[in-house]
Symmetry: C2
Amino acid sequence: MQVSARGEYAVRIAVTLATGHPRTISASSLAAVQALPRKFAEVILGDLRRAHLVDSVRGVEGGYRLSREPEAVSVGEVLRAVDGPLSEIRGRRPEETSYEGAAVNLPRLWVAARAAVRSVFDEVSLAQAATGEFPVRIAELTAADEAWMPR
Amino acid sequence: MQVSARGEYAVRIAVTLATGHPRTISASSLAAVQALPRKFAEVILGDLRRAHLVDSVRGVEGGYRLSREPEAVSVGEVLRAVDGPLSEIRGRRPEETSYEGAAVNLPRLWVAARAAVRSVFDEVSLAQAATGEFPVRIAELTAADEAWMPR
DNA sequence: GCATATCCTATCGATCAAGTAGGATTCAAG
DNA sequence: CTTGAATCCTACTTGATCGATAGGATATGC
């Protein structure tokens, strides 16, 4: 479940927009407050705009704002907008894989893994990510000390 | 949760070894039966050997076999041996991330996502992956039609 | 018309992924 | 004690992608 710099930046930008909603915030302001490269932030905001997750306003006093309410946008949507699909197996969708011999059951495993990832990123809204009030299922996942240990 | 070609190949090789356990199987035989490049398979088997997941025997009649019983090796271990950690956020471990402002709660989200991935790959053994008799929790994840749909 | 934004196109260096090449080394069987 | 089949080691290539930057065209409010 590798999240690229683009993905991380996009979510940071999105939760910042969620917190300021419905005010519009400029790219330089977003970049400054989250300490990321301004030009790169512009590129990412372009991706989010083309995915219809944010609206943009040009000119002085312009900037970006979420297209929908922060409660109605999931983190998964943001990540998909900038990186592609949440889960890929050697560049293919899990359900598109197919194997011979001892590996015939692997597609089910890949699909299960994707479902697990979705159950986190598609079930957390930008509003929840901003406030830290995660759904119970998500909170439970982070409750065990073990979840915080590298492996 | 991107799985690279190395990762996919490694798991396919591992379940093949699990099925043949405890016989030793040569790299060319593994490559042939799973239809993957022989030289690349050799590289991957080297990774698995250095991770102490497989033992190798040189010479004629040589080959590879699992170091432990197929029930005692998880898919997660195989994936970690060839790609690195299951989950990384911009190249860092989830628990090592840290943010200012609206993004302060994101580390919990990253940790939750990693926990979700682990709950699949670390809970499925090579024996289960080979037979298709997955744990109930995993089977449930693949039961819904929705799990098989792209998004 | 000027300051401040977004927006568009192009480029760049570094890194990595996937795979290949060639051969040195090991070992059992005959 | 040779031979053939296997692991193992080092190096290389090729292409794509990632993370960014540059420079300016375009829009907008005052």
